[in-house]
Symmetry: C2
DNA sequence: ATTCTACCTTCCACTCTTGACAGGTCAATC
DNA sequence: GATTGACCTGTCAAGAGTGGAAGGTAGAAT
């Protein structure tokens, strides 16, 4: 249900075509809410039909620029403020932990150490990202930075936990 | 693709019926990999057809007790040791952060404080769970505890982050 | 003897997600 | 003038997950 709101949220900043949105999904949102082309275009159609978006302009190459409507803004605001986010859901990493009893202790230990190393790598990748992005004063910069900090803390926590867990076995 | 392995993992410990599995999905796995009845029964059928499970016994009320086969164990081991877990999943909480720029600063601040409170509540709920479970020496106890500790660290981190983020605005 | 509760499976209709295929056009470069 | 590459939209099949309805049986309690 959240792809709908992701699209609304991106269009709330400024109008864009499906193609533009895809690029933003691939860059800033890829780690938070990935989406494919077919999903984005499909959702744009549905949202336009529902009146939460309109085709503001048509450009070359059949480009359709979508803009959010007042109704769309109201829906976005409602979702953001008046509904509770789904708490944390599926985690393949944790699922595996539950079944570590079905392999040898050595293998379990190795798995957790590997997991720690993977978390470290991801942590470094995020740090690199932080260094490479041009942070401005726009909406995406300010709040994107908060999200990035979350990622940094998350990966650090994961690495620590995995090392701790490996020691427990 | 992981529901398949969740079912295999549970059956690796001991044979069970679909009904039994559902209870274990509802209790221990609910926070890590939720599944509905229709999914579980469907997957059992597919896995049996594929030869990774067999119907070990039939009981009263049409009960079918499934047991994992050697082939199933091999697949579970392969998944656990030789494949990489999906790293980052979707996070509705973070998605919202990206769009906090479309509401007032006050609302954004309130949202983050609320998020901190929600994380605290979840943290406490996990602590209660930890206190109420009878921890034994079995597979699920040992490794379930590792997963629980992850949850505790995760919720603590979330609360800290949300308070920090609220201060940034 | 009846009723209740827990046990147990199957099916269906829907949405969300993935991955690919298919096509067309503008603008600049060689 | 031809090629290339970025731009741009659309559709389809299949899998994964959600939610609920439907239906039947064994055993325990009243």
């Amino acid at each position: 249900m959240s792809l709908r709101h992701a699209v609304l949220g991106l269009l709330a900043e400024r109008p864009a075509s499906g193609y533009d949105l895809m690029k933003r999904f691939e860059s800033s949102l890829s780690n938070v809410w990935p989406a494919t082309q077919s999903q984005v275009y499909g959702e744009l159609g549905k949202l336009a039909t529902a009146g939460l978006l309109t085709v503001a302009a048509e450009g070359p190459r059949g480009r359709k620029e979508y803009a959010i409507t007042e109704e769309g803004r109201a829906e976005l605001h409602h979702w953001l403020i008046e509904t509770e986010p789904e708490r944390f859901r599926r985690s393949e990493v944790l699922l595996r932990v539950f079944f570590l009893g079905s392999v040898s202790r050595f293998e379990a230990h190795t798995y957790l150490e590997l997991e720690a190393a993977r978390s470290d790598r991801f942590h470094e990748a995020l740090k690199d990202l932080e260094g490479s992005v041009e942070w401005g004063d726009d909406q995406m910069s300010v709040y994107g930075r908060l999200a990035l900090e979350y990622g940094l803390r998350q990966t650090a926590m994961q690495a620590e936990w995995a090392r701790w867990a490996a020691r427990q076995i």
